[in-house]
């Protein structure tokens, strides 16, 4: 915020480069970035908006010229020519009307265009997120990513709706004015430009590396405040329970003090120069300069007095480029940052899709030499070999941090192994088309994802064409049917809007979902799937062997382990005992 007024005119160089990139985007965007490809269809519309804006603003000069010409007529010796005066007045009035029509058309069109651009960007982002590896969508990043789709895209608004038109205008109008003023008196034109030159000369003082550093410091300090509050608020229960309020509060206060100090440092550094620039461009100073210059030229340079009014009327407009650049600078910077973040998300590598998908034969699951790390240098799985035969139950046990959760999440392809392969029916998961894989593997994990949609839709999420009977059957098997009937609208109750289910009930809905999907492979994290005894019973019944279903479960209960065909002990990312290796089972 502090950059706004104090550094207004300071913004010129950086904003000018931003303007360049805006121009790039409008004319011929580089083909390599996702955003420019998305924006290209709108380039024509954007150019039209800019043209309307410029024409409207230039028409706005007409009344000023009309005043100047009226003055010339009235000041001329002899009685004024009434017809010429009224012609000038009419010229001015028409100019104003044209300006009104063109600028409002431009503004309306720009906003409509802006809405379309935002929808396009949001859809593109959603599509990309729909293809990112699940590991890239961790809980912590959800907020960030959603912010890019929401606020991030909104921040592009000035870039589309305001900046191009305003920038073009703030250069075109002074240019036209300059041409006119030069024809009136070139010497006074130069004098009129003096305050602008002074302001521009001050710009380097505002963009020294030291100042940049102060500004960066300010941004960092601002980020720290948000972090401190977030920590403070998230840990509030702990803080209250353990009297840690002092500590957390202190961290927050420290962040605040640093922030305020850096804010004041920045303001103190910028204020004198910024104020000097603003003053140089202020109407009283510009008018004073023109009048002083005019007085001198009339007295000594033989300038006609009637040539003075045009400068008083149009001279102030010459400061527009510097002022306008500063004005839009914050928005521009925000828009550029937002576009940067949008690009980052669009550049996320999607989970690769097979070019020529293969169809698995059968449902035997094979893991060979599977390694995996979350990219933080630590390997979670370090060479796992495992075979899940159709119709068997495999229980995974082992100490926490041993890699159990990671292992089971490879089957629904939340992520791909960094080395080795996971095969279903003899085909590497990476070669199976996504719909085929999801028809084969379902899962019940700790994280239950319920949509703000009717219960029935939530259960039928994986099988959108399931009929109500199927949904009810699955709900009964998951022991959630009775609870659903107690909801205000039964199966049509929209979850979320004031309707809260308990953790166990949510897990049973997830279970119903998996049961309805009825895939040949089911993956389940038992340790976290029990919210209460009732849920536990439902899960255990669902686990009962059924035909040739392959079951992989992170086992928690001794009886699951006892009933399993195979028990795999996973420790430090390797199978330490109990597994059938692919070789053994052959």
């Amino acid at each position: 915020m502090a950059t706004d007024t104090a550094a207004d005119p300071a913004a010129a160089p950086a904003a000018a480069s931003a303007a360049d990139s805006a121009a790039d985007r409008a004319s011929g965007p580089p083909a390599d970035t996702g955003t420019s490809r998305l924006l290209r269809p709108y380039a024509g519309g954007l150019a039209g908006v800019v043209v309307l804006h410029v024409l409207g603003a230039v028409a706005g000069l007409a009344p000023l010229i009309a005043v100047a010409e009226t003055g010339r007529e009235l000041l001329a010796p002899g009685p004024p020519d009434a017809d010429r005066v009224w012609a000038a007045v009419a010229f001015g009035a028409v100019g104003l009307l044209v300006r009104l029509v063109l600028t409002s058309a431009a503004s309306g069109a720009a906003h409509v265009l802006d809405g379309r651009v935002q929808l396009t960007l949001r859809r593109a982002l959603a599509a990309r997120l729909g293809r990112a590896p699940v590991a890239a969508l961790s809980r912590r990043r959800t907020g960030e990513l959603a912010k890019v789709v929401g606020d991030g895209v909104s921040a592009v608004h000035p870039f589309i709706a305001h900046t191009p038109g305003e920038l073009a205008t703030s250069f075109a109008v002074p240019l036209v004015s300059l041409v006119y003023l030069f024809t009136v008196d070139w010497r006074l034109t130069l004098v009129t430009l003096a305050p602008v030159a002074l302001a521009v000369a001050l710009v380097p003082l505002l963009t020294t590396p030291a100042r940049r550093r102060v500004e960066e410091e300010f941004e960092t300090a601002m980020g720290r405040i948000s972090d401190a509050v977030l920590e403070f608020v998230r840990g509030i229960a702990v803080v209250k329970a353990f009297g840690g309020a002092g500590r957390s509060h202190r961290a927050f206060r420290t962040a605040v003090e640093r922030f305020v100090a850096s804010f004041l440092r920045m303001v103190r550094g910028l204020a004198p120069v910024g104020a000097a620039m603003q003053l140089a461009l202020s109407p009283p100073v510009v008018l004073g300069t023109v009048l002083a210059g005019g007085a001198f030229l009339i007295a000594r340079g033989g300038m006609e007095p009637a040539d003075l009014p045009p400068f008083l009327l149009l001279g102030l407009g010459l400061t527009a480029p510097v002022a306008a650049l500063g004005h839009g600078f914050d928005d521009m910077l925000a828009a550029r940052r937002a576009i940067g973040r949008i690009r980052e998300v669009l550049a996320e590598p999607p989970l690769p899709e097979p070019a020529r998908p293969r169809t698995p034969r059968g449902h035997r699951v094979e893991l060979r030499g599977v390694r995996f790390g979350y990219g933080d240098g630590r390997e979670v799985l370090r060479g796992v070999d495992l075979v899940l035969e159709p119709g068997t139950v495999t229980a995974v046990v082992g100490p926490s941090g041993g890699g159990k959760s990671t292992l089971v999440r490879l089957l629904p392809r939340f992520f791909d192994p960094t080395a080795g392969s996971v095969r279903l029916g003899g085909v590497d998961l990476r070669d199976i088309a996504a719909p085929d894989l999801s028809a084969a593997v379902s899962f019940v994990f700790q994280e239950v994802f319920l949509l703000r949609a009717p219960v029935a839709d939530n259960i039928a999420l994986a099988v959108p064409d399931a009929d109500r009977d199927d949904v009810v059957r699955a709900a009964r098997r998951a022991r959630i049917h009775d609870r659903i009937l107690r909801l205000p609208d039964g199966y049509d109750t929209v979850l979320g809007d004031g309707i809260r289910l308990s953790a166990g009930e949510e897990q049973r809905i997830a279970l119903a979902r998996a049961l309805l999907a009825d895939t040949p492979v089911l993956v389940l994290d038992e340790a976290t799937a029990f919210a209460d005894p009732e849920t536990e019973r439902a899960v255990r019944r669902a686990l009962a062997p059924r035909g040739d279903r392959t079951l992989l479960v992170i086992a928690h209960r001794p009886e699951t382990v006892a009933d399993a065909d195979t028990v795999v002990v996973l420790e430090d990312g390797t199978v330490v005992s109990g597994a059938h290796t692919p070789e053994e089972s052959r």
């Binding site: 509050v229 977030l230 998230r234 004041l264 104020a275 009283p284 379902s442 209460d532 009886e559």
Partner: protein, 571 residues
């Protein structure tokens, strides 16, 4: 607006704010009035007597110098006041948050408040630092200029003056229309944000259904709704902006026509007319910028209102004359608690003798955790009372009450700090040995041995580096270190793998010894050892007694026991 600002800030800031506004007004007024000096200057120059203009020009230069210093003082005052306000605002927010009941922070509030603290406060403070000056200039300078015009020629002055009410009306109407459209837009933005989060979080299931390939209907509807709403809000603002522009331009045209008529009739001097028209053009630009300033102010106003709402949330009342209980038996007497229109606890009567152990079991959603939390005053009950040592918890000082209670939650929040510091939170002044001892008792040393930097390992934000069970051990060590006479355990053993479960159980046994314990659990083996078990359903105690009594009763508890415990025995 200013009144709202001052309320959010507290009255002590009203003086610097008023001083800043006064300086801004003085600068703007001087700017407008100084234009009066231009008339004699121009009259001299246009009549071909430049020498006559010199004293007037000098006077104008003097006025500009005064204007410049006033303006600089106003800017500086704006920034400094903005800085002071910023500090004051943050402190107020921070202090207030510590006094709010823990229950207030549920359901997305964490995110909301941190956004508010990050950008919201800044935007609200921006009113003083940035938006006030242009607004004051855009209203005061044109008014002062019109006064100057009136002084020189009342006919042209009246024409200009006629525009004032029209401008005010246009500004008011456009503000109202935009505010309504903005509110509608804020709703659709929230909807779109919710749907986006849902879409991202539900990716695994959506993919399972092959639904992420197509456009996900719920999200796409929200995104399209957002487009429509933003178009509507842009269009709603248009008539106001157009009306303002039209009014200003019509007034200027009227002055032009009137001036031409008067000049041709010889009733006004050409130099004077030119000067007045120059001044009129000086009025139009600032007035047109009012539309923009109005939008920025509305946005800031929204943030201020959100801040105001947080600051107005009622803090937990502190007793004026706190009572210190001298024992630690616990009692719930007719405890009723409502959340919205749902009754979570419905007349609960229970008691625990000093040193006794009460287990609360029941289906999820029965109100177990809420009951437990009412002891630590995470929220105050709506009816009945919760007593510690016979004293209502509301009559005990918060710090005193919290000093007597150690809580272990199901979800453990760890601060982004070392394990050691996270344990030390239990008793900040504990020495190293005491911390180590508590950690060992919670079998945290096993976890530490595995970590790259041992005790000094940073656990990451929220404790992301540790598993659920490991975080639980930190939490138990914290509670052990705190050594409080009352221990509250909330579903502590519910989501643990066998390795952690044994360690956590051992830790809990240590923690419970010789203390008054209330535990919420659905693990029957954990419950059965309690002195007394209460079965909660629908916010009511439906059964209470010892394990054996309840089994003999053959009711809900016995059913739970059969469902959960029997198979465990065969394993």
């Amino acid at each position: 607006m200013i009144r709202l600002l001052l309320r959010v800030l507290g009255a002590e800031y009203s003086r610097p704010v008023r001083r800043t506004i006064a300086l801004m007004t003085a600068a703007a007024l001087l700017e407008g009035l100084s234009y009066a000096l231009l008339v004699p200057v121009l009259r001299a120059l246009l009549s071909g007597a430049p020498a006559d203009a010199v004293p007037w020009l000098a006077a104008f230069a003097g006025a500009v110098a005064v204007f410049a210093s006033l303006r600089y003082a106003a800017d500086l005052s704006g920034f400094l006041t903005g800085g002071a306000l910023l500090r004051g605002m943050y402190h107020r927010l921070g202090d207030h948050l510590t006094r709010l009941p823990v229950g207030w922070f549920g359901g997305g509030r964490a995110g909301e408040v941190s956004v508010l603290a990050g950008t919201g406060v800044l935007q609200a403070m921006g009113v003083i630092a940035h938006q006030l000056a242009p607004l004051v200039t855009a209203t005061v300078t044109p008014l002062a200029t019109i006064a100057v015009v009136l002084a020189f020629d009342w006919r042209l002055g009246l024409a200009a003056l006629a525009a004032v009410p029209a401008v005010a009306a246009a500004q008011y109407l456009s503000g109202r229309a935009s505010a309504a459209a903005d509110a509608a837009r804020a709703d659709t933005e929230r909807e779109a944000a919710d749907r986006t989060i849902e879409y991202i979080r539900a990716q695994p299931v959506l993919r399972a259904g092959g639904r992420s390939r197509e456009r996900f209907g719920l999200l796409d509807d929200a995104l399209q709704g957002l487009q429509r709403a933003s178009r509507r809000s842009a269009l709603a603002a248009l008539p106001g902006v157009l009306g303002l522009a039209f009014t200003v331009q019509a007034a200027f045209t009227a002055m032009l026509v009137l001036g031409a008529h008067l000049a041709l009739g010889g009733t006004i001097d050409a130099a004077e007319l030119l000067c007045i028209l120059v001044l009129a053009t000086r009025c139009t630009d600032p007035v047109l910028s009012l539309a923009h300033a109005g939008g920025a102010l509305r946005a800031a106003r929204g943030e201020l209102e959100r801040l105001d709402a947080v600051l107005r949330a009622a803090p937990l009342p502190e007793p004026s004359d706190p009572v210190r209980p001298d024992r630690h038996d616990l009692a719930f007497e007719g405890v009723t608690f409502r959340r919205g229109d749902r009754t979570v606890l419905d007349g609960v009567d229970l008691s625990v003798p000093d040193g006794g152990r009460l287990a609360i079991v029941g289906p999820s959603g029965a109100g177990k955790s809420t009951l437990l939390q009412s002891l630590a005053r995470f929220h105050d009950v709506d009816a009945g009372s919760v007593r510690v040592g016979g004293v209502d918890v509301r009559s005990i000082g918060t710090d005193d009450l919290m000093a007597r209670i150690a809580v272990v939650f199901q979800d453990v929040y760890l601060f982004d700090d070392t394990i050691e510091e996270n344990v030390r939170l239990g008793r900040p002044d504990a020495d190293g040995d005491a911390v180590l001892e508590a950690a060992r008792a919670a079998r945290l040393d096993e976890v530490v041995a595995r970590l790259p930097d041992g005790w000094a390992t940073n656990v990451g934000e929220g404790g992301a580096l540790l598993s659920g069970g490991e975080r639980q051990r930190v939490s138990i060590a914290r509670a052990l270190l705190k050594d409080a006479p009352i221990v509250l355990l909330d579903e502590v053993t519910s989501a643990l793998d066998p390795g952690n479960e044994a360690a956590v159980h051992a830790g809990i046994e240590r923690l419970s010894a010789g203390r008054t314990v209330v535990l919420v659990t659905h693990r029957m083996p954990t419950a059965m050892h309690a002195d007394r078990i209460a079965f909660l359903d629908g916010g009511r105690v439906v059964e209470a007694g010892t394990h054996d009594e309840l089994l003999r009763l053959g009711g809900r508890y016995a059913g739970f026991w059969r469902a959960a415990a029997v198979p465990a025995e065969h394993g």
